[in-house]
């Protein structure tokens, strides 16, 4: 493999590693902060000390999780500079803003009131303490808003224009960046997934207490809050998931095709509910795509485009073009992109030589092909394809688990209302074993979003190969392994501490 390919692979691996680790902790914080805020509100309203104890117990687990979330988070911000230096310049004028706003608006709120939430029980009034707890929840969710505005922009860049003199994209409309439909749906879908995960976490641990026949009242009260919260938010999660898929269909048709393993485009396309991809299948051949599948007819057309007979382009169409549907081939886009890159270089050259008439001409050519420039950096048309298997299985795992969570919340809430949850051992086991599944769904969601976008760092605009820093591959390999060792070591400690705290239980606090 060439140096450049190796470098981009290791840079991606490092980013993926740090992001996946970070994402083990963030969703729980997003949801658990709200759950403890609700619990503390119950305490303040009722004056019942039991609710205070419950609040403090879950806060204790939140703190353990919060610390490692911060530890893994700081690296993400700086990695854009250290490993994606070209990216930082080419899109930094747009991308940097939400990151800075995140720090100013959200991180300070979180970290300032976090100290009050944990250490202020005897130092500030009850109401001030409750307000602080809510502000931590709002702060952590605000931080999710801004980082997902940034991520939504990577999926669907909008509100900017390319400046040939500074050779970068510059922000032209802040509101378009903020209210980018992709960013909005991504934010809502992602935070609600955090609420669902936190609900699963609280229910699962409480179920363990029920199985152990200890701290029964504590467990039942916790389950009541978490299953109500979980049911509401999981319905919302599924709704926002639908909107997310619609956004993908509109702006990232290749990702949608990969999510569904759709090679040949069709009208009234179905969704594969369960299936196994044929590993021998390649782009453009006539082999069967699936070894077996169970399909829901028409569903993809409806999900993607909200129309029963909508045409959904397949990967073959998107790579090789489809005249009938007006789809331009990647090859043609690459040719135009190369013309744009050359025209930009010419423009720079003439500008430097003070040759304004030639410079103007080059600029005109550049403007004609500008929107294909990103494609000019691809080496071959097949490079426009993401990893189909990884995208497909991640997406299906996420969706399948999402529906299971909904069912679980319904069952748990139903038996809680009937006050017979204590005797339903099978449900308690199911709740306990669903905790890890919650994490699997979270990571699968990220893999779908990020692997599905490949080869693009910014959709259609900047491929990952063009976005890296020019450091030695060996440097990135060294830091990759250091991260892998350190984060794993910290994760093990976190899990061990968490398990111990659960064993100690609410009475020990």
């Amino acid at each position: 493999m060439e140096h450049a390919d190796l470098l981009v692979d290791w840079s991606r691996a490092q980013f993926a590693l740090t992001a996946l680790y970070h994402w083990l902790f963030v969703p729980l914080t997003l949801g658990l902060t709200f759950i403890v805020a609700i619990m503390e509100t119950m305490y303040v309203k009722s004056g019942d000390e039991k609710w205070k104890k419950i609040t403090k117990y879950w806060m204790g687990l939140l703190a353990i999780n919060f610390a490692i979330g911060l530890a893994t988070g700081i690296i993400m911000e700086f990695e854009f500079g250290t490993n994606w230096s070209n990216y930082s310049w080419i899109v930094g004028d747009i991308f940097g803003a939400p990151l800075a706003i995140e720090g100013l608006m959200a991180f300070f709120m979180e970290s300032t009131f976090f100290a009050v939430m944990f250490f202020g029980w005897n130092k500030v009034s009850k109401k001030m303490h409750l307000l602080s707890t809510w502000l931590v929840a709002i702060g952590s969710n605000l931080s999710a808003l801004w980082i997902l505005v940034a991520n939504g922009w990577m999926q669907h860049p909008t509100g900017m224009s390319f400046n040939p003199d500074t050779t970068r994209n510059e922000m032209a409309n802040f509101w378009e960046v903020l209210f980018n439909p992709n960013a909005v749906s991504k934010f809502l879908h992602t935070v609600s997934s955090g609420y669902v995960l936190a609900s699963l976490f609280v229910i699962g641990i409480s179920a363990w207490y029920l199985l152990k026949k200890r701290d029964i009242e504590f467990a039942k009260k916790s389950i009541l809050v978490a299953s109500s919260f979980g049911l509401l938010t999981s319905m919302y999660l599924i709704t926002t998931g639908d909107e997310s898929a619609h956004q993908v269909a509109l702006n990232q048709p290749m990702k949608l095709a990969a999510m569904e393993g759709l090679y040949k485009g069709e009208k009234r396309a179905g969704i594969v509910a369960v299936g196994a991809l044929n590993p021998a299948k390649e782009l453009g051949d006539d082999k069967e795509t699936f070894l077996f599948k169970f399909e829901i007819p028409n569903a993809l057309s409806v999900l993607g485009y909200h129309k029963l007979d909508a045409y959904v382009p397949g990967m073959d169409d998107l790579v090789n073009g489809n005249k009938e549907q007006g789809i331009v081939s990647v090859k043609e886009k690459m040719q135009k992109g190369k013309l744009a890159i050359k025209a930009l270089a010419d423009y720079k050259k003439y500008k430097k030589a003070n040759d304004s008439s030639h410079a103007e001409e080059a600029l005109k050519t550049f403007k004609t092909y500008e929107k294909y420039m990103g494609y000019g950096y691809l080496k071959k048309p097949q490079d426009a394809l993401p990893d189909v298997a990884l995208t497909f299985y991640s997406f299906h795992t996420m969706v399948g688990l999402g529906f299971w969570f909904l069912l679980l919340f319904v069952l748990v809430l139903y038996y809680t209302m009937k006050d017979s949850i204590e005797s339903k051992k099978w449900l308690q086991y199911a709740a306990l074993f669903t905790i890890p599944l919650g994490y699997v769904a979270q990571e699968a969601g990220w893999i779908t979003a990020e692997v599905g976008r490949q080869p693009w760092a910014i959709q259609d605009l900047l491929p990952v190969g063009m976005a890296t820093s020019s450091v030695a591959t060996s440097s990135v390999m060294i830091t990759f392994w250091l991260f892998a060792v350190l984060f794993t070591a910290l994760l093990l400690a976190e899990i061990k501490i968490m398990l111990k705290q659960i064993k100690i239980g609410p009475e020990g606090h």
């Binding site: 610390a67 700081i74 940097g96 720090g103 970290s111 250490f119 050779t167």
Partner: protein, 373 residues
């Protein structure tokens, strides 16, 4: 509304203030290196950790904010320095990753590696972490080995990717200076925040020794800044050239900054004085304000007055200035509106601190608190 240059200067000012606030907040790191000097029993050390533990997240957040502000306002610096001086920045990040977990996990049962392990994390963060940040900041004066091409894409020209900065004595002195400053401030913070005579009786000596070491290094740094060569760009052509005693000239051009510098240093000295002689609780406020003002001025002198704030040792004309490395006019305008939040944030931090720090902490309080580090 404002022209581009004004916004660039405004944003350099904000970055300088945030950087200065971070340097002030390193009293947390300084305190972390004094756990065993000031705390001789386990209870005493727990008190010190818990006292710092109310503040560590803000020092962490300030660093994140410093990065975020640089990214939004001067993205070319973000690209050139982080992507080039790779090892130094990565080492700094590792030093901060370990800080975040150390507080929470140190005293927890079943923490896998034992209490001492997390205390070592705190020590590394407080010493090596601050030292390396100082080295990195030192390169703003001494330069880095980078080239920026016509497309504004950059690369580092030496394979040591930033580690070479450790060979420059100025960078090393700058780093050590920050470490000793952090320790002085950390000790004074304990004066302010804890009420255990056994601990506070040990603080005076610590402040004195660390302050003397700081002062020697500080005088060297100031001397270097005033009399060494600096870099200036021609505002009409953008061409960068070397200038003898550039920073001295800049102080002459901007006497307000010189006055602010002297006031900052005076405040710092006064704070140390009342800390040592009167053991005053408020000493940290004087050293803190002194630190913030002094660091802000030093940063401003780097960015304002047509200065180069990040010289390139590999290609002089690749050097970064606030003019050639900033965000676009539109982005800086938007971000300037957002920056109106800064005083709001500072205000609520102030009020929260006041309500949390009304009374000094004691060992008994830590023991009785339901949540403690």
């Amino acid at each position: 509304m404002f022209d581009l240059l004004t916004l660039q200067q405004y944003w350099w000012f904000l970055v300088s203030v945030i950087g200065a606030l971070f340097v002030f907040m390193t009293f947390v790191q300084g305190g972390q290196t004094l756990l065993y000097t000031l705390g001789q029993t386990e209870d005493e050390r727990d008190l010190l950790v818990n006292s710092l533990g109310r503040k560590w997240e803000l020092s962490f957040t300030m660093l994140v904010m410093f990065g975020g502000a640089l990214f939004a306002a001067f993205p070319l610096f973000y690209a050139v320095s982080f992507g080039g001086a790779y090892y130094v920045w990565m080492a700094i990040l590792f030093c901060f990753i370990i800080q975040a977990v150390a507080y929470e996990y140190r005293k927890k049962p079943d923490n896998l590696y034992g209490e001492r392990f997390y205390e070592i994390f705190l020590y590394i963060n407080g010493s090596l972490g601050i030292f390396l940040i100082g080295v990195a900041l030192g390169t703003l004066f001494t330069g880095g080995n980078f080239v920026v091409n016509d497309l504004h894409l950059s690369h580092w020209t030496v394979q040591s990717y930033g580690l070479e900065a450790l060979l420059n004595p100025f960078n090393v002195v700058f780093g050590l200076m920050l470490v000793f400053l952090a320790r002085v401030q950390g000790a004074l913070y304990f004066f302010n925040n804890v009420a255990e005579n056994s601990i506070t009786s040990r603080i005076k000596k610590v402040v004195l020794t660390n302050f003397i070491l700081f002062l020697v290094l500080f005088l060297f740094v100031v001397g270097y800044i005033l009399f060494a060569n600096g870099y200036r760009y021609d505002p009409s052509t953008g061409v960068v050239s070397v200038e003898r005693m550039k920073f001295l000239h800049s102080f002459m051009d901007m006497p307000v900054l010189l006055a602010a510098l002297l006031a900052g240093v005076a405040s710092l000295l006064y704070g140390v004085y009342i800390g040592i002689v009167k053991q005053a609780r408020k000493a940290i406020w004087f050293t803190g304000i002194g630190t913030i003002v002094t660091v802000t001025v030093v940063m401003l002198i780097l960015g304002w007055d047509n200065s180069v704030y990040y010289p390139s040792l590999a290609d002089l004309q690749s050097s970064l200035t606030i003019v050639n490395s900033s965000g676009s006019h539109y982005t800086l305008s938007v971000m300037s509106v957002v920056s109106l939040l800064v005083p709001v944030v500072l205000l609520y931090i102030f009020f929260v601190w006041r309500s949390m720090d009304k009374t000094q902490m004691t060992i008994d309080e830590v023991k009785s608190d339901s949540h403690h580090y």
